[in-house]
Symmetry: C2
Subunit: 229 residues, 2 copies
């Protein structure tokens, strides 16, 4: 008798981190329920990438949610201020202008609702605390506090469900993530990391996210398939 | 020299609890930023009530956010299952079918984003742990866990902002809330509590929310102005 596959919610942005985190969930045997949020991001082309990734991962379901955060969350990624270009990442300090207030908290809360609805205890998110560690909502202490809150917030939590927020990339460098993706056979050509892609979805090559990605591929000694898409 | 008014985010549903909580925030001297979410609720007429209440409170701003939770959050209030009718509230146990998975967590997260954007440290929510206490996300321990998470989640929190979730009605009965509203001169005729109002926004009088409201007005010895709207 086979055990039915446990569902897990995976937050899928269309970038390489969330793709890798979701693939790790799949490798662990979870049935994937992928959640993508159209939140008013400047790089809305990442939604197309999320669809490609969801298909490649053969997710059980892919839900896209419209939630325009521009009215409440000011950020360079929601159109307020400039996305920094051509920066030397090794000297960047503090929280970048691409920080979106409470974004991970909002996304995890939507994932929590869906987890409770489908009877999942597990949520996967591709956050990373090492490279580009300026975001407060990527830190392990944040994730632990979120889990504790989630158990108190929900009917399932009251009933004993021990919600877990999995952040399998949290302590990996971008190069390590890319190597892990290679082992998993992932096609990073499907993904988009750029904050300001052109209309066709081609990366700018100059924003922090592009630079970080390029450095990761260089360190991993792998070509970035997305550059020749 | 006068001190500029501190902003506070108030979650405004259109019901009497959130109206009262917001009025308490106003009395405390906060400038109100009101947030209402159109989440796919069966009783979408409450949005009209929220607009009336926002106007009566002379809020600084009123933002309405569209976030259709029906794809991720199953509840009688998002159209899955029946809203219970004609129940004896004194014998009701457990978490009702009108519980919406992670709803308060999602709403508070949107409020948190806005708080950080406008430089507010204070969020007001009209939750109540006494009457009709089946909802896990109305309990004090949940609110404390949320605050702790919020401070870790945000740039402002890292910078020292001590986010506070105010739930001034948490330990009041419905009758006490109504009496408090009377002292504040609130017009509850503007509000709508019903889960299944008719198209004109008139309450059914039979759902848990209507019954709880009716009991509260009866205990407070006050007529409910909304019944003659």
């Amino acid at each position: 008798m086979s055990t039915p596959t446990q569902p897990a919610i995976v937050l899928l942005s269309g970038g390489l981190d969330s793709y890798t985190a979701a693939a790790i969930a799949s490798e662990l045997g979870y049935g994937l329920c992928a959640l993508t949020v159209r939140y008013g991001q400047t790089h809305v082309q990442e939604i197309e990438a999320a669809r490609r990734v969801a298909q490649a991962l053969r997710v059980r379901r892919h839900v896209e949610i419209d939630l325009d955060l521009r009215a409440v969350a000011e950020s360079a990624l929601t159109g307020v201020g400039e996305v920094p270009m051509d920066r030397d990442l090794s000297t960047v300090e503090g929280i970048p202008s691409t920080y979106v207030p409470a974004r991970n908290t909002i996304f995890l809360s939507l994932a929590l609702a869906w987890a409770e609805t489908v009877g999942a205890a597990d949520i996967f998110i591709g956050i990373n605390a090492l490279d580009y560690s300026g975001y407060p909502d990527c830190r392990p202490e944040y994730v632990r506090a979120y889990e504790r809150m989630a158990r108190l917030a929900t009917r399932a939590g009251v009933g004993g469900t021990d919600f877990r927020i999995h952040a399998p990339l949290q302590h990996m460098t971008k190069a390590e993530i890319i190597r892990r993706g290679g082992q998993l056979g992932l096609d990073y050509g499907l993904t988009l990391s750029c904050y300001v892609p052109d209309a066709a979805g081609r990366p700018c090559g100059r924003c922090d996210s592009c630079l970080l990605r390029a450095r990761g591929f260089a360190e991993a000694g792998v070509a970035d398939a997305a550059l020749n898409r």
